[in-house]
Symmetry: C2
Subunit: 443 residues, 2 copies
């Protein structure tokens, strides 16, 4: 159904038709559809969604629309939605809402839920604790497979996943039992007999990206989260891990383009915010680039004598910048997906230096020939060729080492990408270029 | 256990100790450990892994090591591994191995498996068919919940996932039943009664990235794959979807740095291959940059009269390049994660133009003041300010439209990133700069 059809049906009060078509829709699509409706129609349409689907649809909507709904719903409706929501989604909601809305939401949750919400909200941003969910199936080691299946039947509906169950004694995580293991094992066996005791887990205060990486690396459906005392406190599910992976990559990519990362979508970020996110690095880079200008003014005599020298500046700057950013990009991405580690620095430099030799000589020869053909000037061809070899080698060296240096200093390697590398390399390229030029042409 | 310890234990023939410690290890870690061993020790160690874990460990290893193992194992050992492997992993293996190894592998599989393998290998690279798995649980609509659980118990061990079961009649997919639904439903109900008939599926010939996106968007554990006739042929599991997501992002990021993407890891790619992947775009961009040089030579008189003009070239080129690549990066990423669509082009341009006004005036004012303070020259300050406003606005316009144009032409938007945008913007920046300069200074 399109948003137009919904509005029409709402206008003609054909609520039953809408209800029926909503029942066939996936919550993700429902949330997208509702977000495109005008405010009044959205509220009316939301009330026509089934109780269970309503809570999930609500969780999937943008904060702006969530706020409109919270403010429009009656106490009873709001409580119904909150009761069905998973706690991690409620915590996310509270983080986004203004104080008065938060108050209304908290007033509609019971004491125990409020306590758990407070706990969830106390974890630092981007930590595992802030994305974990606390609704999982816990089993005792002495339970039989039959007991366990019975428990899943009872509590399954309120757990985010039933496919990985956690065997716990005195709050400590002893092992993991998958639903698959329960289903294919003899009903009389105990959980302890069939559990996997080699556990991959993560700490509440670790980075959320580390959790996503573990989920991906080991192909997990859920990753158990333990606190400082080693007590099990929650799980990170694979769908949340995928979200984290995508968000972290987006952050890396924007940072690599010298933009301060934004939590919101492109259209969800205001023009003013966009400008602010971009201007800081632009200012830094612009002012840094004036150093290159200062170097040029020192060689005024050189290009006064041979004006042609100036015309090669853009090509030299671009080419060495591109080479540096190629190296930097490969290293940054390699470190992000754990293919390259800090201890590999010598291997990386050795590899990049050999690549630099191949790349720079090819470019130098091609460009040397072009210049000789265009201007018939051997010395100019030699100058450009030599400059290319030196600057490209230097650029690849800077490009591969700066990101690793950043990581060593516990900075995000992604800041050492194209824009910053280019600015560093430019100054070096100009200096090398005019040094060789003045000695070759005896200026 | 470290690789050194393993080698020592192997040397002292303490196989039992190794076997025991292997039994406690995750297959992912086992594969990593084995890959670090010398060839002879790796083969010995592989034989000490349990039968079930052996096949999975083998699937997780690099093609180079897989080949060594296939060549070293006896027929019987090889058959044992292949029998336990999932078909999609076997298909991946066949794609990587040389002809003689492929022959040996096929000789150790039965006729039906060979037929299925042939089918899997016939799908185009990067298509859904090439990553799907054909081992899933299929149910009939008239089966009861009890029958279904019984079937899962029987075939579960050979299926990649049992958590989503597929209801099929005459090869057509009628609905989906989760293990959760089966576990919490009355045992006497039929599958048809509890199945979800609103199905999200994908075609064998669709792009693998589309499958990964659906898995992420709808939070699925597995996505059913149908052929042209609408018959169910396989599934894409969430762990494979995560791999695809990561690989596709890496491809985008390398392409955005003007590098031809490589399937292999950074260290897995040879120096020669690295150079070849980088040089094509470098050559194109280097030769394109000479246009900018040609423009500069046309204004020789201008900078002969005012040499200071040359010193601002790097700053102007870098700043406009950075602005263009910021816009391009946001649009490319936005399109990759489906936040921005082709129909949004007007909204994007309108947003970027307002951002450009804010960004360019800020940079122009800051730089204008700096130049006035440093050189006390109002006209020069005005020149640089005006040039910045014009070039930045143009850069952001080019930066946001070129990626969308690429998508419209069915090219990968990622090629319209920083390097190409910078080269385009450079020529424009130089032209604008000297045009304003010559008219302002009446040169």
């Amino acid at each position: 159904m399109t948003e137009k059809e919904i509005c029409e049906l709402l206008g003609r009060k054909q609520y039953k038709a809408i209800k029926e078509s909503f029942a066939d829709m996936n919550e993700v699509d429902l949330a997208e559809l509702l977000e495109r409706l005008p405010e009044k129609q959205m509220i009316m349409a939301f009330r026509l969604i089934g109780k269970e689907e309503g809570a999930e649809t609500f969780s999937l909507m943008e904060p702006k629309q969530q706020q409109i709904l919270v403010e429009a719903l009656t106490e009873r409706e709001l409580k119904a939605v909150l009761d069905e929501m998973f706690l991690d989604d409620t915590a996310d909601l509270l983080e986004e809402m203004p104080a008065n809305v938060v108050e209304r939401i908290l007033a509609n949750t019971d004491v125990e839920t409020r306590r758990q919400l407070n706990q969830l909200l106390s974890y630092p941003e981007d930590s595992v604790g802030s994305i974990m969910t606390v609704e999982y199936v816990d089993l005792k080691p002495e339970m039989t497979v039959r007991d366990s299946l019975e428990k899943i039947r009872r509590v399954g509906i309120d757990s985010e996943t039933i496919y990985t169950c956690y065997v716990i004694r005195n709050k400590k995580l002893l092992g993991i039992v998958t639903a698959k293991a329960l289903l294919i094992s003899d009903e009389r066996k105990t959980v302890e007999e069939i559990m996997e005791s080699n556990i991959i887990s993560i700490n509440t205060h670790d980075d959320q990206e580390a959790a996503a990486k573990l989920v991906r690396k080991y192909g997990l459906l859920a990753l158990p989260v333990v606190d400082k005392e080693g007590c099990m406190v929650g799980i990170v599910t694979v769908d949340d891990a995928m979200e984290v992976m995508q968000d972290e990559t987006t952050e890396d990519i924007t940072l690599m383009a010298a933009i301060a990362p934004s939590e919101d979508s492109y259209f969800g970020t205001s023009v003013f915010r966009h400008a602010r996110n971009r201007i800081v690095w632009l200012l830094i880079l612009m002012l840094s680039a004036t150093f290159t200008g200062v170097i040029i003014t020192k060689y005024e005599n050189a290009f006064a004598a041979i004006p042609l020298l100036v015309s090669f500046i853009p090509m030299l700057m671009d080419t060495s910048g591109n080479c540096g950013s190629q190296s930097a990009t490969l290293i940054i991405r390699g470190m992000a997906i754990d293919e390259i580690h800090l201890k590999d620095v010598i291997r990386v430099v050795w590899k990049e230096m050999r690549v630099a030799v191949l790349v720079s000589t090819t470019l130098a020869v091609v460009n040397g020939i072009r210049i000789f053909v265009m201007y018939g000037d051997v010395r100019m061809a030699v100058l450009i060729g030599l400059t290319l070899v030196c600057t490209i080698t230097l650029a690849e060296l800077i490009g591969c080492t700066l990101p690793m240096l950043a990581k060593k200093c516990r900075l995000d390697p992604a800041i050492m990408a194209a824009p910053l590398i280019t600015t560093c390399v430019d100054a070096a390229a100009i200096l090398i270029y005019f040094s060789i030029a003045t000695s070759l042409f005896k200026l």
